[in-house]
Amino acid sequence: MKILPRFPLIPGLVLFGALISAPFILSIYWVMILTEILTMGLFAMSFNLLFGYTGLLSFGQAGFFGAGAYCAVLTLLHGPASLWAALAAGFLGAALLALPIGWLCVRRDEIYFAILTLGFGMMLFTVAHNWRSVTGGSDGLGNFTLPKLDLFGWSISLFNPRHFYFLVLLIAAAGALLLLRVVRSPFGLLLRGTRENSNRVSFVGANVRSVRLFAFVVSGALAGLAGALFALFNRIASPEMLHWAFSGKAVLMTILGGSGVFLGPAVGAAIFFVLEHSITAYTTNWMIFLGMILIVLVLVFPKGVLGSAVDFIDRFRKGGGR
C-alpha cells in the first residue's frame, strides 16, 4: 500500500540538467530572462503552498517578496558584505514579518482571507514607499556593492550574469526541494486536508489556525528568499516589488501553469516571461496580446498548462489514449 505516487525523478533530473547546461547554449539576454524566470518561479511556488495546497488565496504575497528584498539590501548596506548573510536576512526577515500578519489573516478564510492579505500588502507597500530614511522612498534602495560569493573557499565574482544565474539556480532549486519536502510530508497531507475540508480537520483534533499559520510563515519565508535574489540581481529593492499588482503576478503565473501540480507555478512563470519578451520585440502594445494569449490559455487549459499536460500523460498511460 503506497501513500503517494513516487515523485517523477527522471523528468526532474532532466529538467535540472537542462537548466545547468542552458547558460552554455543561450545568449546573455536569454540567460538573464531565465534568471528572472527562476526567481519568479520560486516566488509563485511559495504562493502556491498557500493557494494550491492549503486553499488560501493570498493577495499580499508581494509584501513578503519585497520585505525579503529590502532585508537583503539593508544587510549589504549596513551589515556584513556577505551574499549568504543577505539571502538569510531575506528569508528570515520575511518569515518574521509573516508571523504576526499570518496570525491575524488565518482567522478568516476564502474571500475574507484574500482581502486581509490585500490590506496588509497595501500597508507594506506604503511603508516601503514613504519611509524614506530607511527604504529610500520611491527611488528604491540601491547603490550597494555586490560582494563576491564564497563557496567552499572559492571566491566567485557575480558580475558575470552567467555566474549569477548559477547562484539563482542553486537557491531556487534548494527552495523548491524544501517545498517538495514540505508538501510530501505528514504536514503537507494535513494542508491538503485543510484545503478540502477545514471543518473536518478541526473535528479530527487539529488546530486549523495553527496549521494555516505555519504554512503562511513557510510561504512568506520562501517568497522573501525569492525577493532577496530579485533585489541582488536587479541591484535594487523598490516599492513596486511590494505592490499588490506584483502579488497578482504570482496568482496569474500559478493559474497559468497549474496550481495542482508541484512545478506548475514555475512553468507559468516561464510562459509569462517568454511571452512578454517575445511580444515586446514586435509591439509596444504587448499587454493586449499577452492578455489575449492568457485568456486563450486559461480557457483551453483550465487546470493550467502543466496540469493539463500531466493529466493528458496520465490518461495516455492508463487508457491507451482514450
Binding site: 500500500m1 510530508s185 486536508g193 475540508n197 473536518r200
Partner: protein
C-alpha cells in the same frame, strides 16, 4: 462495565436570537451503552450534538465528558480528549484518496501535524494502521480511489473510518444512515452494532429511521421542540403515549417515511 457516565449533560439550553432550540435538557450516557437520540424534524437533535461536540456554546447549562466539564471548549480540544462525531451531511476530504482520508486523522493522532521534513511515503506504520481501519469498515479494496468517485454509502463509511482513526471513547453519529438505500443501511447498522460490542468506544446516534433506532439502541432519548420528552428502553419508548403523540399518532414501528 463501569457505572460512571461517559457523557453527562445538565440543564442545557441554547437559543438563537429569540428562537429557543434547546430548553433545559439533561441526560447521561453510560460507558459502552449504545444510545440513540430521536425526535421529529426540528426537535433540536443536531443543535444538541453541536453543543456537546463544541461547535456551539450552550447558552446555559453544563456538559461533562469523562467527568470533566467541557462546555465551551473548542472542538479540536474535545477531539483530543476522545469525543468524535460524524455529520448529517457527509463530512470527508473529497479530492483525497480513501487512504489519505484516514491518514489525516491518524497523523494528527500520532502528533505528526507539524512534521514537515519527514516523507509521508516512509510512514509505513501509519499506512498499516490505516489499512486495518479500512478493513474494519470494509473499504480495504478501494484504498487508492479518490473519495469523490465512490458510491454514497461508501462515503459515509469513510467518515466512520476517519472517526475511528482517532481511537475515540465516545462517538456521536448524526443520522448515519440518512439517504442510504436499504442494503447500505443494513451494512451501516451491522457495522455500528459490531463496533459498539467489540470495541471500547461508546456510540450515541441520532436517527430518523425508527427501524434502525429500535434495532440498535439499548437506550433511547426523545427530543421534542427542544425539550427532552422521554427516555427509556426501546420497549418503554415504543409504548410511551407522549412519544406517540409527538409523532402525530404515527406508529413507531413503521420505518421512517
Amino acid at each position: 462495565m463501569t457505572q460512571d457516565p461517559i457523557l453527562e449533560v445538565r440543564n442545557i439550553s441554547r437559543s438563537f436570537g429569540k428562537f429557543q432550540a434547546l430548553t433545559d435538557v439533561s441526560l447521561s450516557i453510560q460507558t459502552g451503552r449504545l444510545c440513540a437520540l430521536i425526535g421529529p424534524n426540528g426537535a433540536g437533535k443536531t443543535t444538541f450534538y453541536n453543543v456537546v461536540s463544541g461547535r456551539y456554546r450552550p447558552t446555559t447549562g453544563k456538559v461533562f465528558f469523562k467527568g470533566r466539564e467541557v462546555g465551551g471548549l473548542p472542538s479540536h480540544r474535545l477531539v483530543s480528549m476522545g469525543l468524535l462525531r460524524s455529520f448529517q451531511i457527509t463530512n470527508i476530504f473529497p479530492a483525497l484518496t480513501v487512504l489519505e482520508n484516514v491518514l489525516v486523522p491518524l497523523l494528527v493522532h500520532h502528533g505528526m501535524s507539524f512534521s514537515c521534513l519527514k516523507s509521508i511515503r516512509k510512514q509505513g506504520e501509519l499506512a498499516e494502521e490505516a489499512d486495518r481501519i479500512l478493513g474494519r469498515v470494509g473499504l480495504r479494496g478501494v484504498s487508492d480511489h479518490v473519495v469523490s468517485t465512490l458510491a454514497y454509502g461508501d462515503k459515509r463509511l469513510i467518515e466512520i473510518a476517519i472517526v475511528l482513526a482517532r481511537r475515540p471513547t465516545l462517538v456521536l453519529l448524526d443520522e448515519p444512515t440518512a439517504g442510504m438505500n436499504p442494503e447500505e443501511t443494513d451494512r451501516m447498522i451491522h457495522l455500528i452494532k459490531d463496533l459498539s460490542e467489540h470495541s471500547d468506544t461508546t456510540f450515541f446516534i441520532t436517527e430518523h429511521d425508527m427501524k434502525v433506532v429500535f434495532s440498535v439502541a439499548e437506550r433511547i432519548f426523545v427530543l421534542n421542540q427542544g425539550c427532552l420528552l422521554a427516555e427509556g428502553t426501546p420497549e418503554e419508548i415504543r409504548n410511551n403515549p407522549d412519544v406517540k403523540h409527538a409523532y402525530l399518532g404515527g406508529s413507531l414501528d413503521a420505518p421512517g417515511q
